[in-house]
């Protein structure tokens, strides 16, 4: 590592010092970390809410809270986890930090817009969370704000809906920024087919953010207009159609699932070649399947509504498309496994996370097919099975990939190594807790336990105890991981520029990077993951 003439982005002093040097910074790396600190704070809140729900469900009947509190809790848990954490999640944190570096740029195309996105995110979060403390009690509709209940309930809906609307702006602007960045700022020689896969998945994601988010934006505005001005949109009394609300909501919110999972797939596609010391298997197939998921993902929203009232033809079409969208995801899994085949695998914490990602992603994905098939869907609709499925995908998929990514890039971000044994213990505990928490829900759902109730029949007691204990174990593992990362960021061993022997551009610069990332913009001649 050459002796640095310039200070790193962490030490660099601009016009503002201290905290202001962060919250008014237009440096994409600092903005990435701003997102990480805010998202992690909300995540701890959301996870605590989840734990409280699991404690309520440890026994039938009222355990620690009443029904209305539970309704408020699962609504807030959903809003926080979906809108504040998982949707911005990987793109805003790891994408902001690494996209410009991985394509050999000094920053994103519009740095100030990038900072504005973070501010809008914070404002949206404050608006959404203010629903808890003002007016007539926390919202109780669930994070989907289904009509007509969302404008009939007396609880404090408006801030929650407006908060989600505001957060959409932040998401759109980040997507816009990333697309322009990739079109205009790739380093000389890096044509599209030499671009690493994490940027590629961010590219697909950005288009979804851009083209799907406005639909939910206008839908939420319609709910606001209906609630405040009594404009007829979805209220049957005014001629409106509540099912139309569900259509409009899922036209965005299903593609949003791919906003969550595509970048996660990108992170995994970065980590596996590095730790297998082998080029990725089927680079072009992964690129093509990324774009295919982004495209087909638009046309499957109806599978959330199989029991809501829709024609047999529509059900058939949506079911077929749902099976279709599973194919590109499966292609990716085959590519990842093939990458490992005959590789010289280096076992380290990011690799453990990535491998367990594939495991939970497969369970989540295959259980999705159960829900995509019409007959089984009717049986398990709105049961704990659905909850298990989307936690395996959204938390298992996105969460595990984020953990993989943060451990993988930790040395680059902070210039220090995390403590290996703590990180490994954290992974083991978290992984076991995760499986214990969500696996029983598949069984409970198949047996008919509905979701979103604070109570259940006595015969569901056993698996629920198991699940609640799993939640406690998982939260313990999470605490180990977070404590380790915070401690290591301050006191860990100094990291070298390339501790994992990676081949993408971020490993060619210093850890932590200098303000402008590169002393000199590199010229790219090799494809990514070029192991000899």
């Amino acid at each position: 590592m050459s002796e640095s003439k310039q200070p790193s982005y962490l030490e660099y002093q601009g016009k503002y010092k201290g905290l202001f040097g962060w919250i008014f910074s237009v440096d994409h790396k600092r903005i990435g970390l701003l997102y990480m600190y805010s998202i992690m704070t909300f995540f701890i809140v959301g996870a605590t809410l989840g734990l409280l729900m699991k404690l309520e469900l440890i026994a039938p009947g009222k355990t620690i809270m009443d029904a209305q509190t539970y309704n408020g809790l699962f609504t807030l848990h959903g809003i926080t986890m979906i809108f504040l954490i998982v949707i911005p999640g990987i793109p805003a944190i790891l994408g902001n930090f690494f996209l410009p570096i991985m394509i050999g740029a000094k920053d994103v195309a519009f740095p100030r817009l990038n900072l504005l996105s973070w501010w809008i995110y914070i404002i949206g979060a404050v608006i959404a969370l203010s629903s808890q403390f003002m007016g007539s009690g926390p919202p109780d509709t669930g994070w989907t704000f289904y009509a007509p209940y969302s404008f009939k309930t007396t609880t404090n809906m408006l801030p929650a809906v407006l908060g989600a609307f505001t957060l959409g702006f932040s998401s759109i602007l980040t997507g816009l920024n990333f697309i322009v960045t990739m079109h205009r700022m790739r380093a000389p020689g890096m044509n599209w087919m030499k671009m690493p896969l994490f940027p590629w998945t961010l590219y697909g994601t950005a288009w979804i953010q851009l083209l799907a988010t406005p639909i939910v934006g206008i839908t939420l505005l319609m709910v606001v207009a209906e609630r405040t001005l009594h404009v007829g949109f979805f209220d049957p009394a005014l001629g409106g159609d509540p099912v139309l609300y569900q259509h409009l909501f899922w036209i965005y919110s299903h593609p949003a699932v791919y906003v969550m999972i595509l970048p996660a797939m990108g992170v995994i596609s970065e980590i596996l070649p590095t730790f297998a010391r082998k080029t990725i298997f089927g680079y072009k197939a992964i690129v093509a399947s990324t774009l295919a998921i982004a495209f087909v993902g638009y046309f499957v929203w109806g599978h959330h509504m199989f029991t809501a009232g829709m024609s047999g033809t529509a059900q058939f079409a949506f079911s077929f498309l749902t099976f279709l969208v599973a194919i590109p995801s499966a292609i990716k899994v085959f590519n990842w496994i093939s990458t490992l085949y005959k590789g010289s695998i280096h076992l380290a914490v990011p690799f453990y996370w990535a491998a367990s990602f594939i495991f939970v992603f497969m369970i989540g994905g295959l259980s999705g097919l159960v829900l995509g098939a019409l007959s089984t869907n009717v049986h398990v609709h709105d049961t704990a099975f659905v909850v298990a499925h989307f936690h395996f995908i959204v938390f298992g998929g996105v969460g595990f990939a984020f953990m993989a990514g943060i451990h993988y890039w930790f040395p680059k971000i902070y210039g220090r190594m995390y403590d290996e044994s703590w990180a490994l213990t954290g992974w083991v505990v978290f992984f076991l807790g995760f499986l214990a928490l969500y696996s029983p829900m598949f069984y409970l759902g198949m047996k008919g336990m509905p979701r979103r109730y604070f109570d259940y029949l006595p015969e569901y007691h056993g698996p629920n105890i198991f699940s609640s204990l799993g939640a406690v174990v998982m939260i313990f593992g999470l605490a180990l991981i977070i404590i380790n990362l915070i401690r290591s960021a301050r006191k860990g061993e100094k990291a070298t520029a390339n501790p994992w022997n990676g081949t993408t551009l971020e490993w060619t610069i210093e850890s932590p990077p200098i303000l402008e990332n590169f002393e000199e913009i590199p010229t790219v001649t090799e494809p990514p993951y070029h192991y000899k």
């Binding site: 660099y12 601009g14 016009k15 503002y16 040097g21 008014f24 910074s25 237009v26 440096d27 000094k106 920053d107 195309a109 519009f110 740095p111 100030r112 817009l113 900072l115 759109i172 816009l176 920024n177 697309i179 322009v180 079109h183 205009r184 700022m185 851009l210 083209l211 799907a212 988010t213 406005p214 639909i215 934006g217 206008i218 839908t219 505005l221 319609m222 207009a225 001005l229 009594h230 404009v231 007829g232 949109f233 005014l238 001629g239 409106g240 159609d241 139309l244 409009l248 303000l515 402008e516």
Partner: protein, 204 residues
């Protein structure tokens, strides 16, 4: 802001233009959601939508359409004027665009005011008595023209900023990407009206 001093100052007009086009896509989809709702409810209530449309003044609608079309032309001409370094002409044309936009809003105000006087507004008893098709029609009418009017107001603000920049010579014949983007936005606002006008005033 801080740190920009060390970031090499560079201007990428193509990047900002791509960014503007992407933003326009999102605007189209924002209105797209409302257009979907409109088509579904028109399909379900053909007679009521037909009768309700008769309530709207085709004359004011036509005048406003002409006003917006001319304003789109003047903003395009102001860009050409800047490219030819004719600052005075550009200032004149931009001021004309802003004036036309204001006239549009005044017309809109009188139109809305008339509807309110007849009790045709969301939540009114008169509208409720007319039935569900009319409630939906006027709900959509106020929401869609209202959201459009909001875009006109934003457009006026943006164009005023551009006007000041032209006067202060911050926009010149070698640096007019911002003005072009503002023009693109104004054309978008115009384009949406071109769809709203027939949907609400003409189809019957």
């Amino acid at each position: 802001m801080e740190q920009t001093s060390t970031h090499t100052e560079h201007r990428d007009d193509t990047a900002s233009k791509i960014g503007m086009w992407l933003f326009i896509f999102t605007e189209l989809l924002l209105f797209g959601g409302l257009f979907i709702v409109y088509s579904v409810y028109r399909f379900k209530n053909p007679v009521a939508f037909h009768l309700a449309a008769e309530e709207l003044s085709k004359l004011i609608g036509t005048i406003n359409t002409v006003i917006l079309l001319i304003s789109s032309m003047t903003v395009a001409m102001s860009i050409s004027a800047i490219q030819l370094a004719d600052r005075k002409k550009a200032i004149l044309l931009l001021s004309g665009t802003i004036t036309l936009a204001l006239v549009f809003l005044v017309n809109k105000y009188f139109e809305w005011h008339g509807k309110f006087e007849h009790g045709l507004y969301p939540g009114s008893q008169e509208l409720f008595d007319l039935g569900q098709g009319d409630i939906l029609f006027f709900g959509l009418y106020f929401t869609m023209t209202g959201l459009h009017a909001l875009h006109i107001i934003v457009g006026i603000i943006v164009l005023t900023v551009m006007l000041v920049k032209v006067i202060k010579k911050n926009i010149q014949s070698d640096n007019y990407a911002q003005l072009e983007n503002a023009g693109l936005y104004w054309h978008l606002v115009d384009l949406i009206w071109i769809f709203l006008f027939p949907l609400f005033y003409l189809i019957s």
